[in-house]
Structures are given as structure tokens and as C-alpha cells.
């Protein structure tokens, strides 16, 4: 029986629920010292004076790192990693020092005794799409062009009998994984060991080796378990450099460093706010003649980041006249980064609400309108889709959800409505190598991959078992260590496809060489090193999301008693872990729709609701019924395994479905997230 497709419990589940899984901060080391970061309390300027006398005098304080008083490091692409080299302050909350002490308590106490003076420069942290200093980045982070244009969208808008021109906005969101970013660093015998909470041990090794001018062989990064990342642990952030600086200043002494929740709001990235100027043109039958999205987001002065919110508009619907663009506002703020489905997640909010608005204007069902505008080939590249089952998702979702009788209704004090939106996420692969070794009846599969709670520990053995044609029980797996072969970062929903493909190649090579009866010690490697995007096909996963929303007729309180998603995402390796990815994404989408918003106060330049009491994330009581289904999709083209990524698509479209449902319930159209009750209140009778 094939292991792929089986409902296999998580291999790491027992260790996690019993608390025996060790995370980065808990690395099993002796005599650790503790490192606490010091942060700038201005948004722009220079540190002019530092008084560490009092702190240094505290018994138990080992060293205090201050700007310019640490070892010289190398500049790399990510300029934010050039920490403590000088006293420049580029945003409020930036690292300007660190205290290392025998205990965390002493370190925190000493941290409160370090006093900084600044030369303060004027700062600018006000995001607005109407600013005159918007600029066009060279290209998007995905490598795609910044702007695209086909036909004449302006003419299409002028001619069309039905048009929608609206501006939609998404809020600043912070990734907020449950496990804070943490590093334990040990410099000993000319070698560095980092236990780091990361989405990619090899990426951390490469970057840190560069920063410190070390051979990669001198650096080992270990990370068996990650308590979530959502992109915020996709690339090394400055605290890892600080932990390493401290470790190198105190050879032989392991250094533990964990960010506080508040520090995570400054130091490890976030999804920047987006403004999406959206235009749709349609003929009287609802066939789109034009579709356009102009996106603006904020970025940080020290490192550029573009949220590619225009990407999904390029592929979703057919229309002869099309345009997308991206512009940036540079501010004195913390550096944005990837957050679950960067680009697609915010970028499917505006267009999918706009489609709903168009359906309403035309008096057609929003599902029919989407079906009517299905493209035959990818409108952007002209390539055929390797598989595209959006329509099947919409239809099956409609059946399961009970879409047919969707008239808005009142149930006691509650106004009830329903909404739908589409989801999309590209399916691509990165580069990875896997090794397979045979030893005493067991196959040991090793790959420097990461499991962020996604299920890699569990699904990679399933892929290996089938590739080797042996029972699952015979597979051992090792991930999360740079002693294993180089593998890509867990990001872009590429993990299973990429690492699985590497394992598949390794297994084929292993069987070619050693057959089905190998000897102890037989070992083989296999790699995947194709370009990320398919040459002949446009490869995407699709989905449809349905929401029921209830709005209290008096207070406008909003509840989402039902969310249902149907996805077409290639072969599902393990329904249990897959369901958790889909419903996790949808729950995070609900959270984005109703709750999440980082309050950046431009007067100070930082986010002031920087804790989980004030930065709201959906609670269990908010996400009471989240259901995910998938259609049986066989995609022969996407990759040899036929799998597409599933980690991110679940969050794409959820917010639009909820906002559309709230409109259906109340008649009030909200175009900026989060959807809070004060935005509905004025429209209620």
C-alpha cells in the first residue's frame, strides 16, 4: 500500500505535546550565559553616548556589546545584519547593544541600567499612498517584473458598461509565531554551533559564515523543531548576529538569546500595509474586458521589501486589457519581510472584493461571474496551466457550504450573510539534496530541511517509503541540521515538493545502484536543481473559500460561525497534516480579516500594540468551525511527485470571503482591513 495519501499521525507529535521536544533556547548545553538586546528609542539619528558603568558593575555581568565596540563583521546583501558596527539608528527598536550575564535576571536588570544618549535626526514614518516620493522598485522579490501591461486598460474602462474602481487596503500584520525567535550560540575550537529557530538551517549557516568571514564548514546550525515561523524565520535576522558576536566574545560559553514578544514587533519582519487601487471593466454579460491593480506598500530605509500584491491579478482572470504595478514608500520603520503567502494574501483581498462588487452591480452570482472569466491559458505568461481547477473548487464548495439558498436573513439579534472568494498560490520548487543510507534493516533519510509545525517530519518519510518501495516503518528521517545535505528554506510552500523531489531522486539512484537488498552503509545522494518556475506550464494551486458572517443588529459585533474551503493543490501526501495546513491558513485569514493590525505610531516610528493582549489574533472562540476539503487533483506536469504547496494557499482569499459575507449580511461594504465593528456600525439601521 502506498504510504503517500495515508492519514499518518505526526512523528514529532508525542515529543511536542509532552514537552520533550527541545527548541533552540533549550539547547542541551552546560553553563549557558544569557544575552538581552538593547533597542533604540528614537527612529532616526546616531547614538552619541553610552553609559555602561552601572550595568557593568553588576555582579554576574560578563560583557556589554555596544556600537563600534564589537568585532568587525562583513556586510552582506541584507544590510540589517550589519549590526553594532556603528551608532547609526535607522528605525526605532533597532538593536544598539546587548548585555550578557550569568542569568537572564541579571542580564535584564543590567539592560535597564545601560543609558544611551542620541543625536536625533528628523524621521518620517507616515505611510500614505498619496505621497509624492513613491518609487518603482527594480523588480519584485519573486524575480517578476514590477509592472505589467497588456492592451489599454484606460480605454477599456472608458468603454465598458460596467466598471468598478475602488481602493482596498490591508493592515500591517506581524507574523507572531508562537515560539519567539531564539538562538543558542557556542563558539569553541574555531567552530560555531547555532541552535536557532529557523525555517532553513542552511540559509542561516551560509549567511552567518559570510557575516563573520568563516568557512561554512566552521558553522553548524541545528534546528529540529520550530514553533512556527510564517516567513519571519525565513531569513536570519540581526539577533542571530548578536548572539554570535557574544559567543565569539566569550569562547566556550554557550549564549542563549530569546526575543521578547515586543522585540518581535521590531526585529523580525512583518507584512507591510498595502493600498490596492483596483479596476475592473466588464461587458453586459459580465465578461471582463479589463482588470488592473496598482499596489503601494511601505518599506524600510535600510532594506527594500516589495509586497508583490499585484501578482495574483496577473493570473486569476482572463481579460484583454490588463495592468499591474507596484510602488514603494521608504520610511524610517522596521524592516518588512515575508508573511504567509506574501503578495497573494493581501493581493487577493482587493480583487476578490472587487469581483463581488461587480457581481452585485451586474446582478449575477459571484461564483458564476468567476466561472465566466476563467482563462484558457495563463493570461500573464501565455503558458497553459499544468492544472487549474478553480471552477471545480467553487462548485464543490458551493455544494458543501449550501450556497444555493443564500438570501441574507435575520436570526434573532443577528444579521446573517454568506460570501465567497477565490484562492491562488504558485507551485514552484527550490534546490535541495537528500541522502539515503541503509543500516541494519533501516533506511536513514537525511536532508537539511525544516518542520515549522507543517508536517515535514511526517510526510517526508511517506515520500521516501514509496520511492524506496519499503514499509513506512523502515524509514528514519533526519532534518533540521546542517550536517545533513543542503536543502532550501521552508518557504513559498515549496518544502514538500522540493525536499520530496530530492528524496525521490536519491531513492531512485539508491535503488539503481544497490537494488532492493542493500548492505549496511550503502549510501546515495540525490538532488533537485531545476529553475523554480516550470518552463512549459504555469503551475498554481487554486481554491475557493466560503464564509458565513453574523453581525449583531445592535452592536455590530462580528462573528464567523462557518468557514469552508475547497482546494485543488495537487497530490495530498498526508490528509491529516494537510488539513491542518489548510485550516491553519484559513484561521489566520480570519484573523487578518477581523483582528490583526499593528498600530504603527508615526510620531515615534514603532508599533505600540506590541504584545498579544493588544495585537489581536483570532482566539478559539472566533474560529469555531473551519472546514477544509480538497479535490483529487492529478497534475502530471508540476513535478514528479504531482504535489503543489499547501502551506500558504489557505490564507489567500479568506479575508475577501469574510468581507463579502459581511456585506451580504448588512449591505455595508468595507474595503479596509481589519473589518471591525465600528466600520459596520454607521451603516446599520
Amino acid at each position: 500500500m502506498s504510504a503517500i495519501g495515508q492519514d499518518i499521525p505526526r512523528r514529532d507529535g508525542y515529543a511536542k505535546v509532552t514537552g520533550t521536544a527541545t527548541y533552540a533556547y533549550e539547547a542541551d548545553v552546560d553553563n549557558a550565559a544569557y544575552c538581552v538586546l538593547l533597542q533604540a528609542s528614537i527612529a532616526r539619528g546616531q547614538v552619541s553616548e553610552i553609559d555602561i558603568t552601572e550595568a557593568l558593575a553588576l555582579p554576574g555581568v560578563l560583557t556589554i556589546l555596544t556600537p563600534g565596540q564589537v568585532e568587525k563583521i562583513h556586510q552582506v546583501d541584507d544590510t540589517e545584519l550589519y549590526v553594532l558596527q556603528d551608532g547609526e539608528v535607522d528605525y526605532r527598536g533597532q538593536i544598539i547593544g546587548a548585555v550578557v550575564a550569568d542569568t537572564p535576571e541579571i542580564a535584564h536588570h543590567a539592560a535597564s541600567l545601560v543609558h544611551f544618549s542620541y543625536h536625533v535626526d528628523e524621521h518620517d514614518s507616515t505611510f500614505s499612498p498619496d505621497r509624492h516620493d513613491l518609487y518603482k522598485p527594480d523588480r519584485l522579490g519573486t524575480g517578476e517584473p514590477t509592472d505589467t501591461k497588456t492592451g489599454d486598460i484606460d480605454a477599456a474602462m472608458r468603454k465598458a458598461p460596467h466598471t468598478i474602481t475602488q481602493t482596498y487596503t490591508t493592515a500591517t500584520n506581524h507574523n507572531n509565531p508562537m515560539e519567539p525567535h531564539a538562538t543558542t550560540a557556542l563558539w569553541q575550537d574555531d567552530a560555531l554551533i547555532l541552535w536557532d529557530s529557523t525555517q532553513g538551517v542552511h540559509a542561516v549557516r551560509t549567511t552567518i559564515a559570510q557575516v563573520f568571514g568563516l568557512d561554512t564548514d566552521q558553522v553548524r546550525v541545528i534546528c529540529p523543531y520550530v514553533g512556527g515561523g510564517f516567513g519571519a524565520k525565513g531569513e536570519p535576522h540581526p539577533h542571530i548576529v548578536v548572539a554570535t558576536l557574544a559567543a565569539r566574545a566569550l569562547p566556550g560559553r554557550p549564549i542563549r538569546l530569546a526575543l521578547t514578544r515586543a522585540q518581535m514587533f521590531a526585529l523580525v519582519g512583518y507584512r507591510p500595509p498595502t493600498v490596492q487601487h483596483t479596476r475592473l471593466a466588464a461587458d453586459e454579460h459580465g465578461t471582463l474586458t479589463g482588470i488592473a491593480l496598482a499596489a503601494v506598500n511601505q518599506t524600510a530605509r535600510i532594506t527594500e521589501f516589495t509586497e508583490n500584491a499585484g501578482s495574483p491579478t496577473r493570473t486569476m482572470y482572463a481579460a484583454p486589457n490588463r495592468a499591474t504595478s507596484h510602488r514603494l514608500v521608504v520610511l524610517d520603520v522596521a524592516v518588512p519581510t515575508w508573511m504567509r503567502a506574501p503578495g497573494e494574501c493581501p493581493g487577493m483581498f482587493g480583487p476578490e472584493v472587487a469581483i463581488d462588487e461587480l457581481a452585485e452591480a451586474l446582478g449575477v452570482d459571484p461564483i458564476d461571474l468567476r466561472v465566466r472569466n476563467e482563462p484558457e491559458v495563463d493570461p500573464d505568461s501565455g503558458k497553459p496551466f499544468s492544472s487549474r481547477n478553480l471552477v471545480a473548487c467553487l462548485r464543490e464548495g458551493a455544494d458543501r457550504f449550501g450556497w444555493a439558498d443564500r438570501a441574507p436573513r435575520r436570526d434573532g439579534d443577528w444579521l446573517v450573510g454568506t460570501g465567497v472568494a477565490a484562492s491562488v498560490f504558485p507551485a514552484f520548487t527550490m534546490q535541495a539534496t537528500a541522502a539515503i543510507r541503509y543500516d541494519q534493516g533501516r533506511y536513514i533519510v537525511e536532508i537539511g530541511a525544516a518542520d515549522l509545525g507543517t508536517g515535514a517530519w511526517t510526510v517526508l518519510p511517506q515520500i521516501a517509503a514509496d520511492a524506496l518501495e519499503v514499509p513506512l516503518e523502515q524509514i528514519d528521517i533526519g532534518i533540521g541540521d546542517t550536517t545533513y545535505p543542503r536543502a532550501s528554506v521552508a518557504g513559498g510552500s515549496t518544502g514538500t515538493a522540493t525536499w520530496g523531489s530530492a528524496i525521490l531522486t536519491a531513492a531512485e539512484a539508491f535503488r539503481d545502484k544497490f537494488g532492493d537488498d542493500p548492505d549496511d552503509g550503502d549510501e546515495m545522494e540525490g538532488s533537485i536543481s531545476k529553475p523554480p518556475f516550470h518552463e512549459d506550464y504555469a503551475t498554481y494551486a487554486f481554491g475557493a473559500q466560503f464564509a458565513e458572517v453574523r453581525v449583531h443588529a445592535d452592536t455590530a459585533e462580528i462573528r464567523v460561525p462557518r468557514l469552508l474551503g475547497v482546494f485543488a493543490a495537487g497530490r495530498i501526501v498526508n490528509p491529516r497534516t494537510a488539513r491542518s495546513q489548510f485550516t491553519g491558513g484559513m484561521t489566520m485569514g480570519l484573523s487578518m480579516a477581523l483582528h490583526e493590525s499593528s498600530s504603527l505610531d508615526p510620531r515615534f516610528g514603532h508599533v505600540i500594540n506590541h504584545d498579544l493582549a493588544e495585537y489581536h489574533i483570532a482566539t478559539c472562540a472566533d474560529a469555531t468551525n473551519v472546514e477544509a476539503h480538497w479535490i483529487d487533483e492529478h497534475d502530471p506536469h508540476v513535478n514528479a511527485l504531482g504535489v503543489k504547496g499547501i502551506g500558504e494557499i489557505g490564507i489567500v482569499g479568506t479575508a475577501a470571503a469574510i468581507v463579502n459575507a459581511a456585506h451580504h449580511a448588512t449591505g455595508v461594504r468595507v474595503r479596509d482591513l481589519p473589518l471591525t465593528l465600528d466600520k459596520l456600525l454607521p451603516g446599520l439601521p
Binding site: 445592535d554 510620531r603 514603532h606 505600540i608 478559539c620
Partner: protein, 332 residues
Amino acid sequence: MRPFDYRTPANAVTAVQAVTEHPAAAFLGGGTNLLDHLKLGITHPDLLVDVTSVTADTIEDFQGGLLIGAAARNSDIAADYRVRTRYPALAEALLSGASGQLRNMATAAGNPLQRTRCPYFQDPTTPCNKRRPGSGCAAIGGFTRGHAILGASTHCVATHPSDMAVALTALDATVHVLSAQGERTIPFAELHRLPGADPTRDTVLDHGDLITLIELPYSPIARQSRYYKVRDRASFAFALVSVAAALTVTDGVISDARLAFGGIAHKPWRANRAEQILIGEPATDATYRLAAEHELADARTLDGLDGGNAFKVPLLIRTVVSVLRRLAEEPR
């Protein structure tokens, strides 16, 4: 965070003595608010005097009412059968606050004495008159969604965050206080104060004043009480606005009423004016609305980076109507 001493005194008198003699000492209840403040650097006591074992943690019958020990845990109070039947608004208020884990720790005295959740108060890198007198009020001109619409001053526009305190205000509770001078009682509605020119003080308590008991009087109307909290998520969020109400309706006419609001002022807001309007009037939406509008006649709303808090006025009026209507329609 700075080092501090921790003491478990022998009895309430020595607890009071320890704090009174020590200007930088503080009483420690469940610690769910105070310890956060230590970690955030909002306050720096060098001595914590744990009072959870020197005040009662029981709930006793007393002259038809109840005496709640200062150390009684929030979850125990909410689960008490007498509280649930005689003062349902109090049980509902407690259960609407925080989370199960926090309520298991939080004490009867600590809850009403928790401090504002104004984000600027909680961030020592920003100006705040409540935290650092004279430094200014960063909330004014900042994010004001959670801030006050009644009774604020130019020095501070913070709101009091406790749900329990709103119910206690409506239900005519009294606090028993022990100080170096002896015992005294304070009507609950007079415990908290408006910010005026000195927002550093949340209550009328002096340093060394220990709350020992909270007294709930015999109150037939309290059986017909309810607490309703409007917030930004279904659970684990502070009130945008909240209403504690009790109503007696006889032959369609309101014969008695208790009304208090949360989330809108520096203290739990007893709606005396509204109560006056309600009594003797027909139990209709129009009456409820008129009463709420009257109470909010002096409301001053704030602009803000988040759109401000003006929405609280219509929201509170609508919530009052909703709660009173339900109380009248579905007597408990």
C-alpha cells in the same frame, strides 16, 4: 526588571505595616497585572508583600448579601452559586474577562486595582503622565480607539479596564480597607477616581491601604442583572464598551434600575443620570435610548490615528438599548 524582595507576612496587620513603612513596596495579589508591569519597566517596587494568604479567599453570606475575601480567585467567584443567582452580572463580568488561566490566578482585590491598558502607559519609551508625571500624554493624537469619552482630562484620557469593577459599581458594592490608621469602608463607586490633573492615582486608596473584603449588599434587583461586553474579538479582549445593568419592570413600567458602563472612562461609570430617567418610564427602546443619550450628553470624543473613539457613543447607546430590552423581555 530589577531585583526585589518578596515577603509573606504573618497577617493583614503586618502586611499593612510592611508596605506602609516602605515607600517602594507593593501588595501582591495574583500578580497577573503587577508582574507584567515589573517586566515592562512600568513600576519598580523593591519589596513585594504577598497578601494572598493574609486576606480571606472565601465568599461568606452576610446580612442577605455576600462578603468576598480579597484573595478569592476570579474563577471561584464566578463559579459560586450564590453569586450566579443573586448577582448574575458579576459572574458574567468575571467570565467575560481575560482567560481561564488568568482568572484562576487573579484575585478579587487585584482585579479592580489593575491598571489601564493604554498602550502608551505600557510602553515606557513613550511619554505618559500616568507613568511619568509631567511627561505628557502620548495617547492624545495617537491611537485612541480604547480611550475615554467621559470624564477625561487634558492630562490623561485612559480607560479603566476591569469588567468586574463595572458590575460591582452597578451592584452597589462596598470595599473594606485596612490601613495603619485602622479599618474603613468605601462605596465601590467612589473607589476609582477621574484623572484630573493627577492621573498617577487610579483610586482614592493611599499607599499601604489594603483591601480585605468586597461587600455585596442584599439586593433583590441584582437578581435581574446582566453584564454585556462589546469587544473586538469573541474572547480574550478588553471591552470597547460594556454595560452592567439591573432592571425591575412592573406592569410595563420601570420601577427600579442600576446601570454602569465600562470601557469609556478612567473609572467604572455609574450612570446615575440614566437611572433617574429610566425609573417611572415605560420599558421601551425609546426610554432606554433617551436614558443612554442623557448619560452621554457630556461625552467628548477623541480623534486618533486609528480613526479615534467617536464610534463609542453610538455603540454604547445601542448596547444599552440592547441590554435593557433583553432584561425587560427575558426576566431571569
